[in-house]
């Protein structure tokens, strides 16, 4: 019962947020100077008038807004205004598939490497491994991803010819962008894991478990890891959305046609329908990621109650 109400509640708030997001983006987008047909070589007025008419830009703003709302309510994201005759859903589908493939691999790598590093650091607290892992973590957080990406590209692709410089055509093309994308999450996860595991390791129930004579491995997997991993689950939601929506910088450096690059380009040329389409898509993605995180939280830690809890 609680679960159903919880989900319905969440869903309602998601819809409201989405509506606010769509409206704000729509009016902000129209407020910036220029339109899809702004070009250095000006088109004659009669042609511009025709284009405006065909795309409904000659109508008053509120009219355009309600028309757009009506269209998206029917699930129609429309046709790109710059990439003529191409459906926005098709554009999102094609570019998102690249970002998604890359992102999923990066998330898996981040979690595995991050958790292992953090665990090692916690188990060998104040030993060399701990310091080394934490120096790496500080570096990973402090060094911007475009520096990491350029450096990886220069060293491993150009100097040692181990991987291709750019493109996205096969398994070999994954290594460098994935490494660049996961550097920061790895560092973050390692630090989170370390601190929460240290906390857990000193908890009374671990002492009890030890006293019971449980094996180290059993303590680690059943008690330490299960409790220590909670903060990572919290972090996973936003991180997933973040990585999957595509890093513009990384996509640009490695020449990957992902959705992040597409979004920035669409803003540059004022491709209204594409800007709106990707914004809505991002919004939904982010909300769903948050939602799944909340559910996962409940499943892992029964202490967290569904009802009465505020969004945190």
């Amino acid at each position: 019962m609680g679960m159903v109400r919880y989900v319905a509640n969440k869903f309602f708030y998601m819809l409201v947020s989405l509506f606010v997001l769509v409206s704000a983006t729509f009016f902000l987008m129209k407020a910036i100077p220029g339109d899809p047909f702004t070009s250095e070589k000006k088109v004659p007025p009669e042609i511009k008038a025709r284009l405006y008419e065909q795309y409904g830009l000659d109508k008053p703003l509120y009219h355009q807004y309600f028309k757009y709302l009506g269209e998206i309510a029917q699930g129609d994201l429309g046709v790109s205004m710059k990439r003529l005759n191409q459906d926005v859903t098709h554009l999102i589908g094609q570019t998102f598939s690249a970002s998604l493939k890359l992102g999923v691999v990066a998330i898996i790598v981040s979690v595995i490497v991050g958790v292992i590093l953090g665990m090692l650091a916690a188990l060998y607290h104040r030993k060399f491994i701990d310091s080394a892992a934490m120096v790496l973590a500080v570096l990973g957080i402090a060094v911007p991803s475009f520096v990491v990406a350029s450096l990886l590209q220069y060293v491993f692709a150009y100097k040692f010819h181990m991987f291709p410089v750019s493109g996205f055509k096969g398994p070999m093309y994954y290594f460098l962008p994935v490494a660049a994308l996961s550097a920061q999450p790895i560092a973050f996860i390692a630090r989170l894991t370390r601190s929460s595991m240290l906390e857990v390791l000193h908890a009374d129930y671990i002492k009890t478990a030890k006293a019971k004579g449980l094996s180290w491995f059993a303590i680690l997997s059943r008690h330490v890891l299960r409790n220590g991993i909670l903060p990572i689950v919290t972090y996973m939601g936003p991180m997933t959305a973040n990585i999957v929506t595509g890093s513009v910088v990384i996509e640009q450096i490695f020449g990957i046609g992902g959705i992040g690059k597409q979004f920035v380009e669409a803003i540059g040329v004022r491709d209204y329908t594409v800007i709106m389409g990707i914004t809505i898509f991002y919004g939904i993605l982010l909300m769903v990621a948050r939602f799944i995180t909340d559910i996962a939280y409940v499943l892992i830690d029964p202490r967290i109650k569904l009802t009465g809890g505020k969004e945190g």
Partner: protein, 572 residues
């Protein structure tokens, strides 16, 4: 706390030192590598030099190049950018083709043509050419393509419809003053004969016919407005056909065996990657993932130009193209409504120093608007009509500024805004010029960086004081530059209005006497620059590119458009 802080400081220090060291090491290694790879490279080239004649073709004739942005469309009626041009040129052929050496039109799908004595009626005789599905290319295919462009009911309407306004009644048809398409100056006399009637004599019309807006389209597109978004519905008549298109990722064209001149096409495929980072493109080229890098379809970062020039002298090519970089003055507002102040600013910068230290691309200092490479009556226009409209002279500039200020009743020039659209190069140039003005004339300049569409919007509505601009030739004639500045002209962002200038351009537009026409152009350009200094010319563009030594036959035309179709790869 203290301890962790000092630890952080240590790490930061290590990082900084590490980066610096890595930088030095990298450079050294780089030089070493360059020397090492250069030596065999040179040997290789001398080897092929001695073994002239028997060029061995590589087994794999796949050309790999980059596009800095994805062509928004492959529909010739909808295209309006140079990247679409690059790819469309491989897939389509118009009535004529641009000869890259002479800058003049040569036979394409039209084998030969007759021009009436008054220069108004062109009769084209089409060769036996085929579409990629085997259908013959007929005169009706051209009529179909041009009708789609000019039809105001085409949805979306063709943004470049005005490129066809040279035809009789074309503009009238678009603006619905004429509703019967048979009144428009294009007619399929029979399957192989196309008759075109112009509004007024246009000496560069044959060249225009090689442009994508004039391409023919296959009959299968009728009733399918989305035909150009899918490779399977794209039937083309050029050297290649579209075989792969992943949005944002890659485009591939494959040799069209049905092309009439397929025997001269040696490439089997062209792979276009889509990467909008000059640094990545250069690295890919050096790493052997691209066969050609740089302009016009790609980009080499300007700060890398002197380095690659030295490192790869046999691969680096710098070629002047018909394009001019200049600054607009807003002549409609004080203080730049005063011609003496405009002249003072124009004369007070050192263009060669700017090119040698900032742009680094071997550009030519510009003292006029029409760039070299544009055709005139005998050879190039710029060879006959010199751009000696003014000289750089700081002393004269100072006294002109003083006079101008006096006329305006000012004691000093108020701070001036110089706007440019976001780009590392435009920024560097603006800062350097602002500095020259400050040092030479003592004026204060604020450089204003604006996002592209915002910038264009401001410039077109004369909401600026000085703004950067660049103009590339649309066709090979001085008209493409000079008709911009007629009163009320769509691209006259300077707000220039001079009836005498308008008359010269109008005369040139209707005159079929080519010598007289050139005199009008020369007089108009002199008025625009020497007398009225409406713009400040800065430099004539160059295209800078790197081509592997095994790649031959890729050519650039006068405007800097690239033609890959006749390229081939040698064994390497």
């Amino acid at each position: 706390m203290k301890k962790s802080k000092s630890l952080l400081l240590m790490i930061a220090l290590v990082l900084v030192i590490g980066t610096v060291l890595a930088g030095c090491g990298g450079n050294k290694a780089n030089n070493g590598n360059a020397a090492a790879t250069n030596a065999p490279g040179n040997e290789g080239s001398t080897n092929t030099g001695t073994a002239t004649g028997d060029e061995k073709l590589a087994a794999d004739q796949t050309l790999r190049v980059n596009l800095t942005s994805e062509p928004p469309t492959f529909d010739p009626a909808q295209a309006q950018d140079s990247q679409a041009n690059t790819v469309l040129k491989t897939m389509y052929e118009g009535l004529t083709r641009m000869n890259d050496e002479t800058g003049q039109a040569e036979p394409g799908i039209a084998e030969k043509w007759d021009i009436s004595a008054d220069g108004l009626v062109y009769t084209f005789h089409l060769r036996d050419a085929q579409w990629s599905n085997g259908d013959p290319v007929e005169a009706a295919d051209f009529v179909r393509g041009w009708k789609i462009v000019l039809d105001p009911n085409t949805n979306p309407t063709a943004p470049y419809a005005y490129q066809l306004y040279y035809l009789k009644n074309a503009e009238e048809y678009y603006t619905k003053k004429v509703t019967d398409f048979s009144q428009v100056g294009v007619k399929a006399v029979d399957a192989k004969t196309l008759e075109v009637t112009l509004k007024s004599p246009t000496p560069y019309f044959l060249g225009l016919l090689s442009f994508y807006t004039y391409y023919p389209v296959h009959k299968s597109i009728e009733g399918n407005p989305k035909w150009a978004t899918n490779k399977d519905t794209m039937i083309t008549n050029g050297a290649f056909t579209l075989t792969e298109w992943t949005t944002g990722q890659a485009i591939q064209v494959t040799k069209n065996e049905k092309y009439w001149d397929a025997a001269s096409i040696k490439l089997s495929k062209i792979d276009f990657s889509i990467v909008n980072s000059g640094a990545t493109e250069l690295l890919s080229y050096k790493n052997g993932e691209l066969d050609r890098a740089g302009n016009p379809n790609g980009e080499i970062p300007s700060e890398q130009l002197p380095i690659v020039k030295k490192e790869l002298p046999n691969e680096f090519v710098s070629k002047g193209i018909a394009a001019t970089y200049y600054y607009y003055f807003n002549t409609t507002e004080k203080p730049f409504s005063n011609v003496k102040i405009r002249k003072a600013l124009t004369m007070a910068i050192n263009r060669q120093a700017l090119i040698d230290n900032i742009t680094l691309g071997g550009q030519l200092p510009a003292f006029g608007l029409v760039p070299p490479g544009i055709a005139g009556v005998d050879g190039e226009y710029r060879n006959t009509v010199k751009d000696s409209y003014f000289t750089e002279d700081v002393e004269q500039a100072k006294s002109l500024l003083a006079e101008g200020l006096k006329e305006e009743g000012l004691t000093a020039l108020p701070p001036v805004d110089l706007s440019y659209n976001t780009s590392e190069n435009h920024k560097k140039i603006a800062l350097a010029i602002a500095d020259m003005w400050k040092n030479n004339l003592g004026i204060t300049v604020n450089t204003v960086n604006q996002e592209w569409a915002v910038f264009i919007d401001n410039r077109q509505s004369q909401n600026y004081q000085i703004a950067r601009a660049g103009w590339t030739a649309d066709y090979n004639d001085p008209m493409t530059f000079l008709d911009m500045f007629v009163t009320g002209g769509g691209n006259n962002d300077a707000g220039y209005a001079n009836p005498e200038y308008d008359k010269l351009i109008k005369d040139a537009k209707t005159n079929s006497d080519l010598a007289k026409r050139q005199e009008d152009f020369a007089a108009a350009e002199k008025m625009l620059i020497q007398d009225d200094m409406v713009i400040m010319p800065i430099y004539y563009y160059t295209n800078n590119s790197l081509t592997k030594e095994y790649l031959k036959g890729v050519t650039l035309d006068f405007s800097g458009a690239v033609d890959f179709t006749r390229g081939y790869l040698l064994e390497h």
